[in-house]
């Protein structure tokens, strides 16, 4: 009240009646009238002078409020332009260093009120300028405050005097963001910086672009597997290690870069180590190149020593760490409240960790540090299961101590979930992040004051002997423990609780084991050879793997024909090195390329190459299990996944939302997008090198479809542009709901936002392409399934497992399997075969009666199966991962590296570990001959293709299509052959007396022609005895058994008559039959019926006529002339019939 009277006095004392008084007037009441004054003249309507009008009006409200509350409700008179330059009298407007340009304004201000409003607009614009200026200034200040900033000059000098500089600094010193910018400032214009992780490439690129004030430009770019953002203007590129290696493979000297930064080399992952060796060589070839190695302050001497002869300079940057109090709290030192929190989790297996010590530490923190002191907790445990148990226990604790917010953190999470750990806890609350070692160096969470270290880590190790991986828990290394500790001192003084003793710590290894000791080396070695390295053993490894492992790997590469006997790269090998996948999948793709249709194979291979799309929840949540049930395939989990993928594509075709569906079934949708991209990548690579014929050219959209598609594309592109310029996710305040940070809400919000992955997907696929994609995931027909299984078997061989002979009388949990090198493996509990183990057993009806002479105990059947697995993984138990089942004998004879038989071909031994007995007369001969013939045809086709590529012939021969489609049919027929046999694992004792070691009999040496493979020269096998009759088969080297002799005796008594022609033999003689086989007229006639062009033509030079395979076809059901391949004709016929 009093203020009001005072202001009226003041009002009365001034003479200007026109002055505006904010007590009786507000601009806010005149928004509609005034907003026109905010507009500029422009061709576009509604072009405002302010970026954000709402913000402007907020400013007006604040301004009015400020004037009122400081007792200045009267708006001061305005000055004319001329008056602004004279120093006296004082006027606030004389501080404004900005003018409105009257010529560009849409309306003139025609009264005092409008003129005052214009002035206010100017005040606002001036204020915004100051704000933006400060934003830049703050950014620069924070850069200058980074520890690395003081070393800019040192780095410059080091680069002037040496070609290799090592920058060692702890996380947070700013090396990853600043060093590339320093180099840019020093004048380098093509800088590549490698990162071990894709995510880091993207986020560093964003950050550095921001600091270069180039958020919307492309001076800084990233390049990761499926995405790149580089343009011609790019000067700095963040690239994954793997991709840089690929660039090296193609452009050997990386001439496009003038400076190369290898970041995070202390992580010692496979690619990082590989790059170190390669760049060491590269320095010789590229005298101009500068190499900067960046590492945490871990084992720096190792790197320095490694580049000593290159004169490496070391720049060491101290980290910015606050003091950290260290407390050793081994579990017994904590007073355990018996049973608290753990009783509940007893339903889990005893192998799970006891979360009580962690809860104890939290309660210790609660006792000793008031919640008014901010600071979050970071708990390190070894794995996802451990995270779950701790999270559960802490949540329970948080029901009493409600200021705790629990957040799990691990690499298996979706990005949005991971992002939550960066959000703020509300005032008075603490975040408790339970993490794997992902938060040790790769992810940095600010605000952590307390670290609780379990001292454990789960690490994958590789067993080169049985070619399996093992995931085991270990104590961490000293350097990891110190990294973990350091996480407590990033934003202020902190405390680190170690749940082990100081003595235990002292016994830790100094450094973690480099990855090169823990993973298979085949891909890396192959890549080395394909890069032109003459001898991989001479590669300058920073720390070389064991010689023995290198030798084993080279041997395996030879077995797969990727390397020749002289260890040179083969055509197959160099094609394999081109494919960015595991060798087995690469081999599968290449072997599949000889068939006329590769669409399904591409999808299957892509599915095998991504992480399992099924989340943990997919198996634990019964709702997910039920939803998926109808789509489960009894052929193996990979087939189920392809079915799920097909459902997903079908939803896309109907333009239905897929995100919800994926969540319902427990699928990580990201994986399906990856499958799609990877599949396309495979296609491009294979088409690019001519292995498959470019497809899709014949599927043009109709004009109506094109129009629709055009509209859709415009819409999608607009969405994409909008998203591109959107602000990135900001740190938010976490919401609190019963201990666990609320997560459902975000999930519910999500679908409303545009799903950018979906937008990208739809941009890439028009309806035609979508239906192609859908068809490629259709594996309903028996022969498609058989072919896919064959290709899987071919790629994964020798990864085979056989059921234990006593499985028939045991239950689900005790179904054991044996591989050649490792006995007693289990199906992974989540797999279909673990639940439906009867699929792998012989049913009673499958058992056949044995002939009298056959005495061994093994069951005789036509239905024996083998498992072919993608990998071995040992966690709690050794598991087979991603199995399919295959008919045993057929598969073995097609893929084994070494096949040995006796003279009667009634006994066959494959790769010296599986023995087949075929006590039915003639069946072994039939099976083996066909296997040899098919195998040779197949590899001939493959090599014809590969040779075509190597001699760079244009237009790969299409005539092979015919042969390859007959090969396909013959393979399918072969797999379905009904042959009765027994199968068993050979024991070391068996193997000792397996071979006859006798030179082939004179009857054999006198053979004029090889009865198995006409063009393969037969030679005696010195080692085993018998004759080499094909690349993989030794005939008649196995010692005869009791029963084989008995069988021979029984048969010899009878005459033999060929079933296909009229040839009769007086007595049953295998060799005679063998010789007769290729000549038999009946067989030839029959063969020609089933295969119009006989196999023999494959040796002829390929001709390039395609007319007969792709000639027109007239469908009389739908009265159309169609240009289709044979398969498509069949497909079309079926469809037409169905449509009718």
């Amino acid at each position: 009240m009093s203020r009001k009277s005072k202001t009226t006095d003041w009002y009365a004392s001034t003479g200007h009646r026109t002055q505006l008084n904010l007590i009786e007037f507000s601009f806010l009441d005149r928004k509609a009238e005034l907003s026109g004054l905010l507009q500029a003249k422009s061709r576009q309507a509604g072009r405002s002078l302010v970026e954000n009008e709402a913000d402007f009006w907020k400013f007006v409200a604040k301004y009015e409020h400020m004037m009122l509350s400081t007792g200045r409700p009267m708006l001061p008179h305005r000055l004319a332009e001329a008056e602004l330059t004279s120093v006296h009298p004082y006027h606030r407007s004389k501080h404004l260093a900005l003018r409105l340009d009257a010529d560009e304004l849409l309306q003139e201000a025609d009264n005092e009120m409008q003129a005052q409003f214009r002035h206010l607009l100017l005040v606002y614009l001036d204020f915004r300028q100051a704000e933006k200026f400060q934003r830049i200034r703050k950014l620069r200040q924070s850069q200058r405050n980074l520890p690395i900033a003081r070393f800019r000059q040192d780095l410059r000098e080091a680069l002037d005097t040496s070609r290799v500089v090592i920058v060692a600094g702890d996380t947070g010193c700013g090396k990853s963001t600043q060093v590339p910018q320093f180099l840019y400032d020093f004048g380098y214009r093509s800088i590549a910086c490698t990162q071990p992780r894709r995510l880091a490439c993207v986020s560093l690129c964003k950050r550095v672009a921001h600091e270069l004030l180039d958020d919307y430009g492309s001076r800084v770019a990233f390049q990761i597997r499926f995405e790149r953002s580089r343009t011609q203007l790019t000067n700095i590129i963040f690239i994954t290690e793997g991709l840089l290696l690929r660039q090296l493979a193609v452009a050997a000297n990386l001439d496009q870069y003038d400076a190369l930064i290898l970041d995070e080399i202390h992580e010692r992952n496979l690619f990082g180590d590989f790059l170190l060796g390669v760049t060491k060589c590269l320095l010789r070839a590229r005298p101009q190149l500068k190499l900067i190695l960046m590492s945490a302050t871990i084992n720096v001497e190792l790197f320095h020593g490694y580049f000593r002869e290159e004169g490496a300079r070391l720049v060491q940057v101290p980290g910015r760490l606050f003091p950290i109090k260290l407390r050793y709290l081994p579990p017994p030192a904590l007073e355990l409240k018996a049973g608290q929190a753990t009783a509940e989790s007893k339903r889990f297996k005893g192998t799970r960790i006891d979360p009580a010590p962690f809860v104890q530490v939290l309660s210790l923190i609660d006792q000793q540090y008031p919640t008014t002191e901010r600071g979050d907790v970071l708990i390190f445990v070894s794995g996802v299961n451990e995270i779950e148990s701790v999270v559960e226990a802490v949540q329970e604790y948080a029901t009493e101590q409600t200021h705790w917010l629990v957040l799990p953190l691990h690499s298996g999470q979706a990005m949005a979930e991971q992002g939550k750990v960066f959000d703020y806890a509300p005032e008075g609350m603490r975040k408790c992040i339970v993490s794997t070692n992902i938060a040790e160096t790769s992810l940095t969470v600010d605000g952590v004051r307390f670290v609780v270290d379990s001292g454990k880590v789960k690490e994958m190790s590789y067993d080169a002997i049985c070619k399996g991986q093992r995931l085991k828990e270990f104590w961490v290394s000293k350097s990891s423990a110190d990294q973990r500790k350091g996480r407590a001192g990033r934003t202020g003084p902190g405390v680190c609780f170690r749940l082990y003793t100081a003595e235990q710590f002292n016994a830790f290894e100094a450094y973690p084991t480099p990855e090169i000791y823990r993973v298979p080396l085949d891909t890396m070695l192959l890549q080395m050879v394909s890069m032109g390295l003459p001898d991989v053993r001479a590669f300058p490894f920073i720390e070389a793997p064991e010689t023995e492992r290198i030798e084993q790997t080279i041997l395996a590469l030879k077995q797969h024909s990727a390397l020749s006997v002289e260890e040179k790269i083969t055509p197959l090998g160099s094609s394999l090195a081109n494919l960015p996948v595991e060798l087995s999948i690469g081999k599968m793709l290449l072997m599949g390329c000889v068939f006329p249709e590769v669409e399904q194979l591409l999808t299957l291979a892509a599915m095998l190459s991504v992480q399992n799309p099924l989340t943990n929840r997919a198996h634990t949540d019964q709702r997910c299990v039920r939803e998926r049930e109808s789509l489960e395939s009894d052929q193996g989990d990979i087939f189920t996944l392809v079915r799920l993928y097909r459902e997903w594509v079908q939803l896309k075709m109907r333009r239905d939302g897929t995100r919800q569906w994926c969540r319902r079934l427990g699928i990580e949708e990201q994986r399906f997008y990856e499958v799609t991209k990877l599949r396309q990548q495979f296609q491009r690579i294979l088409e690019g090198c001519g292995m498959v014929v470019a497809s899709g050219s014949d599927s043009q959209l109709t004009s109506a479809e094109r129009a629709t598609r055009h509209g859709e594309l415009r819409h999608l592109k607009a969405m994409k542009r909008r998203q591109r310029f959107e602000q990135p996710r900001q740190r938010k305040l976490l919401k609190h709901s019963a201990g666990r940070a609320a997560e459902d809400e975000e999930e519910r919000d999500e679908p409303q936002g545009d799903d950018m992955r979906d937008v990208d997907f739809r941009l890439r696929f028009d309806p035609r392409q979508l239906s192609l994609l859908e068809r490629s995931a259709r594996l309903d027909r028996h022969r498609d399934v058989v072919l896919m299984k064959l290709l899987l078997g071919c790629g994964f061989y020798p990864q085979l497992a056989i059921s234990d002979e006593f499985n028939y009388c045991k239950g689900g949990g005790q179904q054991f399997f044996h591989t050649r090198l490792k006995p007693f493996l289990l199906q992974h509990p989540n797999s279909h075969f673990a639940k439906h183990f009867e699929l792998l057993k012989l049913a009673d009806s499958d058992l056949l009666p044995k002939p009298d002479f056959y005495t061994p105990k093994q069951p005789l059947s036509e239905r024996h199966q083998l498992l072919c697995y993608q990998s071995l993984l040992e966690t709690a138990k050794p598991y087979l991962i991603n199995c399919i089942r295959l008919p045993a004998a057929q598969t073995l004879l097609l893929f084994s590296f070494a096949i040995d038989t006796n003279a009667g071909i009634t006994q066959i031994v494959c790769d010296g570990w599986l023995g087949l007995d075929l006590p039915t007369p003639g069946s072994g001969m039939e099976l083996l001959s066909r296997a040899i013939e098919l195998r040779r045809r197949w590899s001939r086709l493959l090599y014809a293709k590969l040779d075509d590529l190597n001699s760079k012939q244009e237009a790969p021969s299409h005539s092979s299509d015919d042969r390859s489609s007959t090969l396909w049919h013959d393979l399918v027929d072969y797999m379905a052959l009904d042959v009765a046999y027994t199968i068993r694992r050979l024991l070391p004792a068996d193997i000792k007396r397996l071979y006859s070691h006798q030179a082939p009999s004179t009857r054999l040496t006198e053979l004029k022609e090889n009865p198995f493979a006409v063009d393969y020269p037969m030679t005696p096998n010195e080692e085993k005895g018998g004759l080499n009759v094909s690349e993989h088969v030794v005939y008649s080297c196995l010692a005869e058994q009791q029963w084989t002799l008995a069988m021979d005796a029984a048969l010899r008594a009878e005459p033999w008559k060929c079933t296909r022609c009229d040839l009769e033999l007086e007595e049953f003689d295998v060799l005679e039959q063998l010789v007769h086989r290729p000549k038999c007229k009946g067989r030839k006639a029959q063969g020609q019926k089933s295969k119009p062009t006989s196999a023999e033509t494959s040796t002829e030079a390929p001709t390039s006529s395609r007319s007969h395979s792709s000639g027109g076809y007239y469908c009389d059901t739908c009265n159309r002339e169609l240009k289709l391949s044979k398969i498509d004709i069949l497909r079309h016929k079926k469809q037409c019939r169905n449509n009718k």
Binding site: A40, S42, R47, S48, L49, V50, E51, L84, T85, V87, H88, P89, Y90, K94, H95, L96, A97, L98, R99, D101, E104, L105, R128, Q129, K132, F133, R135, I136, R137, R140, L213, D215, Y216, R225, F226, E227, R228, T231, Q232, L233, L243, R246, V250, A251, D255, Q256, N578, P580, K677, Q680, Q681, R684, I685, G688, K720, R721, R724, F725, L763, R764
Partner: protein, 154 residues
């Protein structure tokens, strides 16, 4: 816009082939030279370490909509906003970083620790000399800035 580039699926072999193009061929048509979107003017503040590249020096930046400066300013395109289509302007798409002191002509940034504006820009040392000629209100303001910047430096 290079939208199409954005979602092209990566094909390394092709990409690398593209990268292998001889450098020399690109140079004659260098589009950068003509591109007004690239900052080419160096701005260094005489009062602090500020050092930036800006797009424009003068009173009326072509990319500033509806405003002009009473004296020559170092102005950059607003890096925090998505850029407008080429040749077009958009609201508040400008940030002035500094100007020249009206007395000594040294470049000086807009930070209160470095410059003061009253009827014209002054670097703080010149402002200190000049202030005795000013009305008390203006003196009070610059004194506040002087003591604040003094405090910061100590």
């Amino acid at each position: 816009m290079d939208d199409d580039e954005d979602f092209v699926l990566d094909n390394e072999a092709e990409e690398i082939k593209r990268l292998q193009l001889p450098e020399e061929e690109k140079k004659p048509i260098d589009p950068e030279e003509a591109d007004e979107r690239i900052a080419r003017i160096e701005f260094n503040c005489s009062g602090c370490e500020m050092h930036e590249m800006v797009h424009y020096f003068g009173r009326k930046p072509p990319f500033a909509l509806g405003v002009e400066y009473p004296e020559d300013n170092y102005v950059m395109r607003d890096p925090f906003q998505p850029p407008p289509p080429r040749w077009q302007t958009q609201p508040e798409y400008y940030i002035t970083l500094g100007t020249k002191c009206s007395t000594c002509s040294k470049s000086v940034c807009k930070d209160p620790g470095c410059s003061f504006y009253y009827t014209a820009s002054f670097c703080l040392p010149c402002g200190k000399e000049e202030l005795k000629n000013w009305p008390v209100e203006a003196q009070a303001r610059i004194r506040k800035q002087l003591s604040a910047s003094q405090g910061k430096k100590n």
